[in-house]
Symmetry: C2
């Protein structure tokens, strides 16, 4: 078995807390950075009140303090002047939709400072009430007609500014090269250069034609945004022309929208991380392995694109590995989501990449293939490399 077939390496130890809470509480670990004169215990207790009753301590009836206010279970020094607190909430408070779940985990405290959500233990009942990915890793493989346990390859129809015809040609070429998924660049919406309906119709036709010619089952995943009626009409158009998946931007579109799509449209959803970087502050925000690795999976994303370490975005190998682990780890009965690393891949480091992500991933190639002198040949070479690493 080649490098890629090995079990993936794990994230750091502190990231390996059990993800399912045995006692039915929603248990959240926050890393605290204190202001001068701030006490870690008071800060932890402030979070427990702010995230639930949103009243200062002393103004809450006693029965609510017990039932509704978060419980501070521990406050510990964590080195480098930082502290860590574990606060548990009644799972009832999550209230059945994702905006409230996120509001509970990281709502008003976003407007304070020095509070970073670093881990969550999810109560079994909450997990059982959430459908999660409709397709998951294995479902994505089935959609693309892939029998072997190997990573899927994904190429990008880009850049913004090309016409539907140009994008469709590129999509067709990628499908002919053996790429499994051809996704729209996430910035393609309904621009004059490539209006939504025309783009989707032509790209889907080009990929279907390539499939007929090559006997393959490549899939085209258009970029899908908008809300309300616009979104319903767009979903209708995707289904009409035969698309089976879409690219979404959960940070911009909202988790409730993404969950609605996942649970109601049967489209496979490939999440793009645009915008989400603001969450990943060193001292304030939400850890990438929680947001990208757990929250997006709960919201029903079948694959999650994120920058690989060593590319053009801020990401270290340990975090990239922790995201991957969370997406694939056992979590209630939720299907695993495929980690989909991308963002300027250095071909020289491919073997390490295969080792880190393993066979249950989606490898996204953008610019290095698209801008090659002969994109189809470049894609063929890339596809062959991925496949040979996993046979």
């Amino acid at each position: 078995m080649a490098a890629g077939g090995r079990e993936p390496v794990s994230g750091s130890d502190s990231r390996r807390a059990p993800s399912v809470a045995a006692d039915g509480r929603l248990r959240v670990t926050y890393s605290l950075t204190l202001d001068t004169g701030e006490s870690p215990e008071a800060k932890a207790r402030g979070i427990a009140f702010e995230q639930t009753v949103e009243l200062p301590e002393g103004r809450v009836p006693a029965d609510l303090v017990n039932e509704v206010v978060g419980r501070v279970e521990s406050v510990e020094a964590a080195g480098d002047g930082k502290w860590q607190t574990r606060i548990s909430y009644s799972a009832d408070l999550a209230g059945g939709n994702f905006s409230q779940l996120m509001n509970l985990l990281y709502g008003n405290i976003s407007l304070l400072s020095g509070i970073r959500l670093v881990a969550v233990e999810w109560p079994a009942d909450l997990l059982a009430a959430i459908p999660g990915p409709t397709h998951g890793v294995q479902g994505l493989r089935s959609l693309c007609g892939v029998q072997e346990r190997r990573p899927l390859t994904c190429a990008v129809a880009k850049p913004l500014g090309l016409s539907p015809r140009q994008l469709a040609e590129l999509a067709g070429e990628m499908a002919r090269a053996g790429v499994d998924i051809i996704k729209d660049d996430h910035s393609l919406a309904d621009q004059p250069a490539a209006p939504f309906r025309e783009r989707i119709t032509m790209c889907q036709a080009a990929v279907e034609e390539a499939n007929r010619a090559e006997g393959t089952s490549a899939r085209y995943f258009p970029s899908l945004g908008g809300g309300g009626r616009m979104l319903r009409e767009r979903v209708g158009h995707l289904q009409e022309v035969g698309c089976r998946g879409a690219v979404v931007m959960p940070f911009h579109s909202g988790l409730d929208t993404v969950a609605g799509l996942a649970y109601e449209s049967e489209l496979a959803l490939l999440a793009h991380p645009s915008g989400s970087g603001v969450l990943f502050g060193a001292e304030h925000g939400v850890a990438p392995e929680v947001y990208l690795g757990q929250v997006l999976r709960l919201a029903g994303c079948d694959a999650v694109i994120y920058p690989h370490a060593g590319g053009r975005f801020r990401m270290d190998e340990s975090t990239a590995g922790a995201i991957r682990s969370n997406l694939l780890a056992e979590l209630g009965t939720l299907r695993p989501s495929a980690p989909a690393p991308g963002g300027s891949i250095d071909p020289a480091r491919l073997q390490g990449w295969f080792r880190l992500y393993g066979p249950d991933s989606v490898f996204v190639v953008g610019s290095s293939v698209i801008r090659a002198e002969d994109p189809r040949r470049a894609a063929e070479k890339w596809v062959a490399t991925v496949r040979s690493a996993f046979v």
Copy 2:
């Protein structure tokens, strides 16, 4: 005329750039904090490529560089080792929905560092294509039967954990006290302690009963989350029982969802800032006066809640004033949104508060009224204070 009737004071000068771009470009100012060895020009040019074609320079066809890549219009030292760049984008790229608009303004660059969006000039054509607030300041007043030009008062049905009956009693008391809007705490979703339909039905009935008894026109705005079918059913229920507005959390629910609600439901939308604090980094993210003061208005929010300076959240008076100015400033033909300051109000500072926000605002009182020994009396006093400041 009392203090509150004066023209509100303005934000700092740097925040008073014209908000409408005369030349049809979407012009964005980013503040840059450089890494060691980084050049400000290269960083600016990197943004212009990353936010559009998402390909490194040199890999983009020449025609696209001209039409699609952002134009770096200036790069200037801004003191304290920081730089400021103005980059303009073709308005066509915004693509007709809010997730792509945000992706264009602040998408992949969120995953880099030292880039803060501090101002936007909106092209007139883009503004003309966006409906904006359906009600706006004057529409909110009309909904509440308020004839005078004075701030609306808003009380909160909270905390989480109360039963529908308890919340309804509180809502009724607040309406009887003369409060104009009684809003749900944003954390109320569909929890077992107060299921969605029961809560909405009972609170709306309590406010209507108070209106009948007092001859008033108070409005109850329930908290509204969820996506897809769940959201449509909830909106249907609100309309069925006669609610005319709702509280939304745009950061968690997504701008496309909020815009869909604004443009299709005719509900007045009161935006809560939960979660949005992660955007407001000192060196990386989006300035509060742009996100809360402009983007939420474009997305159709009729009023925007945000922490007042001096409360329990991070906010300085200059920023609070800049948000207020942006919500109320002329911006194409968009109706003004009401600034809705809240978050631990110090009664001793009320006069300054009236001066800062002026008569076109919504004043939100939460805990100080709710937890008073006699909430109704406390609310009556508060209502009288606000009214007397503006006659």
